[in-house]
Amino acid sequence: MTLTAAAPPKQAPRTANAGRRRSIWSYWRFYLALSPFYLIFLVFGLYPVASTILLAFQKWDGLGPRTMVGFQNFGFLIEDSTFWLALWNTIVLFFMSTMPTLAIAMALAVMLHSAVRLKGVYRIAYFIPNITSLVAAAIFFAAVFSTNFGLINAALRGLGLPTEDWLGEPWGIKIAISTMIVWQWTGYNTIIYLAGLQAIPTEQYEAAKMDGAGPLRTFFSITLPQLRPVVLFTVIMSTIGGLQTFTEPQVMVGNNGGTGQSGMTVVMYFYNQAFFNNDYGYAGAIALSIFVLVLLFTAINWKLLGGRGRS
């Protein structure tokens, strides 16, 4: 983006010393070449976002006329216990899935970084879950966690442990959903960490070795600090993705989030309000709240991890 902005002034003197207005218009070809992205963004990005914001202040059933209702939708939102429950579920699911994902991904990346043989095979194997169809995977996980004929309960029975009604218990639902998210995203983050690891200069490791640092000390004093920007990137990407969890709970426990609605996430609640209850205005208000939530979490992460500026 900075490149394109810098280009016109550089060339300006060459194309005749005309007035400013004319010089802008004489670059119409460049702007035209740039325009497809902006036009598509305008139509499929900016316009929907703007109309969602407008919708949040309206009442609309999807077919009839829209009426302005001011802040009424937000008033309902504050009183709506289901919304707060969905918010709580989303945040809990976010922590339950993101933390293990990133920890496992880091461990795997360090191991892959030092392993010599079959590196490519491992990389592909870890990445495959990320490109597997979400719905297919969710159906598979629902089967794995099912009560009578599920793999996990079969294993528990085999070990002589009591079985659990995973998808019928509030916490069981959360564990099942986050397990699936961990399975899906660990490989993706591993690949990113691995790329980051490969960019750390080997001299630093050699120097550490000379000073007698063990593998743990090396990891915490060199690897982790050097990876800080990469970690920040993965945390922000996981935040944006994790706070919008939808498909996993929808396929595994249904549109209402299962027992105690403990699989109901904010995006699912938004979807239900818009596409089942035809309450598009209220759904718009929920969508705005997700936006604010993601912004808030990203800001917190930025402060926590990016405090010392770019490395």
Binding site: L32, L42, F149, F275, N277
Partner: protein
Amino acid sequence: MELSRRTLLAGGFAAMLGGTVVGCSSSMDTGSTKKNAGGNIALWCWPGGLGKSVLDDTIAHFPDQHIKYSEIGGDFKQKLLTTFNGGTSIPDITGVKGEDIASLLPQATNRFVDLKTIGADSILGDYLEWKVKQATTLDGKVIGIPIDIGPTALFYREDIFTAGGLPGDPAKVAEQLKTWDDFLAAGLELRKANPKAPIVADAVDLYGTIISQGTSRYIDKDNKFVGDQDHIRKAWDIAVKAITTKVDGKTLGGSPDWNAGLDQGTVPTVTGAAWVALDIKAACKTSVGKWRVAPTPSGPANFGGSFLTITKSAADPAAALEVIKYMLSADNQAKAFADAQIFPSAPAAYDKPQLKAADPFFGGQVPIEVFGPAAKSIPIAYEAPLDGAVAVPFSDGLKLVQAGKKTSDAAWAEAVSKAKQIGKRQGVQ
């Protein structure tokens, strides 16, 4: 060359810009009733919504109408709403699913043709009255002709019933299991003999069935919330009784456990619409011929069943109605049943040979002997546009009782207050 490339780019740019502007302006125009071009009829339905042979036959039968059928997959209602708001390419005839019709009725007059104004009166009597009522607005406009219905029955495993000391013959089952109380009592007996076969697959599901057996639901015609009244509480209490007497399998319909249980005998009964038979058949490999059909205890209910409607954009509504009349005649409904198990909404079809066939999956029983009478005696209940949304807290509450997380009374109180709040958001008193 250079010139043509430049023109091409500029042309594309203009076309895109033009498209955007047109797209925006027409979406603002919510009350648009722009007519489609005459000479052909655009027909929309979802995959499997209409029998293939009937559809092909109808298209051939009206060569002058040039019927153009589009099969719309995915979220059908959403795509229809989007097209309505877009204002162009609106179909002349469109299917509307049974679960969506109630939410479309308030806007019916803006988008759909009142079929009574174009001469549908003469054929409305051919279809089941309660089903036509679902597509009728409070002020009497009819916007859809029913394609099919979903009358319920009790599907059960004859082998497990007889082994558990219950009658196996459908007539005797009907005799003994007249009400839900009889059904739960039979469940207790079955549990003594076979603790692994709870007679209720899912108490929450049972609750939904009982609600649909009634003549009033959560919101009445005056837009008043009645979900806290006796008719709902009674259904709730029966479901809770199934849970507390431990005849509830807690097995969600359609889940992997349910599918496996149907064949293995841990789900010995299913109370469901005629089309549920397809799911049961798909899940069963070893229990073929062991299933039977009996009337639903405490009377029939209906789940699903869709409509064909004519939009305000239709170039020639009268011609469109002729197409619908032909396609949904009793003869063609019988054909569609033979084709794709689309259960007829015209009772005259129940006497056709296609429906009289014995089904080896049900041990040679003739299912229409149960479903036919059921279809004719389904109660008429007013379903408010918000009904589905208000029902959710009740089934959620029962799930908590089922999981042992809440007492029945506490869950009930919470469900009622949540349902009232959802109603309040949309102006229900």
